[in-house]
Amino acid sequence: MKCLLPCNGLDKCAGLVSGQAAVELSQQDDFELICPVLLNQNKSPYEKILAQGDLVVIDGCNTRCASKLAQSLDLKIKDKYNVSDVAKSMDLKLGKDLAVNETTKAVQKALVEKLTQTEDKKEASTFEMTTIDYDSFMEGKFVFKVPKQGFFFNENDCWVYVSGNSARIGVSDYVQQNLSDILYYDPPEIDDEIEQFDDCGSIESGKAVFEIIAPVSGRVTAVNEALQDSPEWINESPYERGWLVEIALTDEVTEDLEILHDGSSYFEYLKKKVAQDV
């Protein structure tokens, strides 16, 4: 069962679509509706369904009121959608007019379809990483770890670990320390073709949304499904259990790697960066 928490923002078209999509879905057996206003006032009417089902958040826009509400109540978000992003992906623009029109209907329909899609079972990853040796330094009360070998980094603090023709991507210790508790991982789609420095998903904490900037080009072959239930692994183990994406590399990998930092170079870069932040 899925518990739907729309933002239901009344003064914005995208907010209205979130509410209407949730109401439409709640007519089906598998969905329960949560009113954000009542939830904000009192969690207890929803405690039973929240204990039984997965929480799915539908934000209207990037203000992310519904996500922030869930986070403030310590509710674990299993999946989330953003009406404005859905509209953008369809090349549609939700105007200021609050009335239902062809555009709002199309976005609502697409959103409902996304939410009712049954997920394909993904194949388990067979990627292997060797034992990792770390270097670390301390700044204030924070310890920053950087793997000594095998990893390459861009200056957006995302890493890549290459093994044969495939690679794993993740974020460095710096990102997870900055974001603090990571509450949600939004992965890219399998088979997405990604250029170097493109986004390949995002991670989100109460503080901010961080776009994962791909250190190398490639095609997405797997995402770390375990992070849907345990996004805190990115905090606990950013270079190992908290990996984000696996990709099949392209022929340009050598050229891509040339402009990245290796472990020791990133370690020095990070030291300077952290010192500047203080």
Binding site: N154, E155, Q196, E211
Partner: protein, 101 residues
């Protein structure tokens, strides 16, 4: 403070910072509150109140401020184009350096 280079290229040579769409911005200042790099400046009693003051402080490829903007009033240059330019500048500078040596 801004980094002086990004991926080995002078930051000043990279065109990457937010553009504010004033027809959408409602001066909520969520972006200002979010950005730790002083890219924006708030000018009380002036129009527009919000400006991009320090474009070179903006972290290349970071678009996190736009993710805080409920009105979608912040936009950034095309990433693929920016990447191409960075790579081309690196190559040109490397060739120049080699020719000089």
């Amino acid at each position: 403070m801004s980094e002086s280079t990004f991926m080995g290229v002078d930051r000043e040579k990279i065109d990457w910072c937010p553009t504010i769409d004033y027809s959408k911005c409602n001066d909520c200042m969520d972006c200002v509150e979010f950005c730790p790099h002083q890219v924006f400046e708030v000018r009380e009693d002036q129009t527009p109140k919000l400006i991009v003051k320090n474009p070179n402080n903006c972290v290349v490829f970071c678009r996190a401020c736009s993710k805080t903007c409920g009105l979608d009033a912040l936009s950034f240059p095309d990433k693929t184009e920016t990447t191409k330019k960075i790579k081309a500048t690196r190559k040109a500078e490397k060739a120049k350096k080699e020719a000089g040596e």
